[in-house]
Symmetry: C2
DNA sequence: GAAGTGAATTCTGAATTCATTATTCAGTCA
DNA sequence: TGACTGAATAATGAATTCAGAATTCACTTC
């Protein structure tokens, strides 16, 4: 049986589908930074008309993934070291706020779930299971944001996370950084359990800034 | 003589013009929260076709000023007290970050300018000149953001500021709040001059949270 | 042979048209 | 009289068409 409740039939807007596709293509490097994006080839690739495609380009431009130059089309934004600094600086304070709010507002059930995931994170590190580690890591950050129950924060964070994601794809986790990252996560879970908002905020912010440092260190090699 | 350097002729995209108009209309309450936005009347009002109008609606939706419901048009988002809390919480940490970065990165010239504006702010308060006060207030916040030299921060802040603006329009400044706000600004300028990043961050964040409190207090009356 | 000019092509910007979905309202039946 | 059905109407979603700007490239001229 279909477990899905019937509900409204899903008719995702074409423009949304296209933005998601394009975003993924940018993350995966199919569309390279600095590359000019021509509308016609994309419409042919996706099998859609220019109207929804152009709407999608507008959305991605507002997310900062590409730049629209009047009468001259779109260009995938280059990701400079400076831009990474910028994005991570902002993301760090947003995650800090998420930690602070979560420490205040999270339900006990939320906290238990986050602690459980943190233990699983430790396990995936012990097992040297990178895919699982990444998945759980993402899930924890998402859970903390949700526990903060501030939709505006979640949305703002999401927009910037798209841009950080591009760098993370390339980032390689060194053994040392990995070890420290797990410890940081454990400290964060501890601060949440203790409902120490200030400490949690500081830890979350530091965690993200450390991540930036490791990405930059990896890039230098 | 025309002091403008010739440069490229300015051809602002129609969709951008329309978004600005619509945004202003929302700020001024011409389009009221909860109101359904129909495309046809707007195209007639602006004298444009639906294509650029729809692009503009997409942009405003991404800014959170209205909500697009598939096949059912757009609705101006209601501004609940909860949403104000959300937006100001995020804005506060962003302004905090701006203060922190500005304290570190601002040029001496920037600092002198901000201090000068702060003195003018005090003067406008003494003169009880509200329009001037608001103008200088805005200029100071803008200058601090610029001094932080983080475009991503500026852009992110701008998007949220649009939403806060809607509330500020209605907000009435009490005499007491006004006095305290000026003092806060002077403290911020002092922290900047002292290049005390941590203190500046804390002051900036607190300043915005106090502003929220005064808005909420005014709304309760 | 190199630089400059102008027509042809290609691309983006905007308007219009076509298709699909939602809403309204008259009519029917219980 | 009230609720349901279904056609008519009006809205949005997407494709196509038209207009204007930028690029390309061949040709001319020095």
């Amino acid at each position: 049986m279909n477990s899905k409740i019937p509900g409204p039939i899903e008719r995702t807007a074409l423009a949304v589908e296209i933005s998601n596709h394009l975003r993924q293509m940018i993350f995966e490097g199919v569309l390279e930074p600095g590359e000019k994006v021509r509308e016609k080839p994309l419409t042919e690739k996706f099998g859609v008309s220019r109207t929804p495609l152009r709407e999608a380009l507008k959305v991605l431009a507002s997310e900062g993934l590409l730049e629209l130059i009047p009468n001259r089309g779109a260009v995938i934004t280059r990701q400079s070291a400076d831009e990474l600094d910028e994005v991570f600086s902002v993301l760090a304070v947003l995650e800090g706020l998420a930690g602070e709010l979560a420490a205040k507002a999270a339900s006990d059930k939320d906290l238990a779930r986050i602690s459980k995931m943190t233990r699983e994170l430790r396990q995936s590190f012990e097992d040297a299971d990178r895919p699982t580690y990444f998945r759980i890591n993402q899930a924890i950050h998402k859970a903390i944001l949700e526990a903060a129950s501030n939709d505006t924060l979640t949305r703002t964070h999401e927009l910037l996370a798209y841009r950080a994601q591009r760098a993370r794809y390339q980032a390689n986790l060194t053994a040392e950084r990995w070890r420290v990252a797990v410890e940081e996560h454990e400290a964060i879970a501890g601060a949440l359990e203790a409902r120490d908002a200030a400490r949690c905020a500081a830890l979350m912010r530091a965690h993200l800034l450390n991540k930036l440092a490791s990405i930059k260190a990896a890039a230098k090699v």
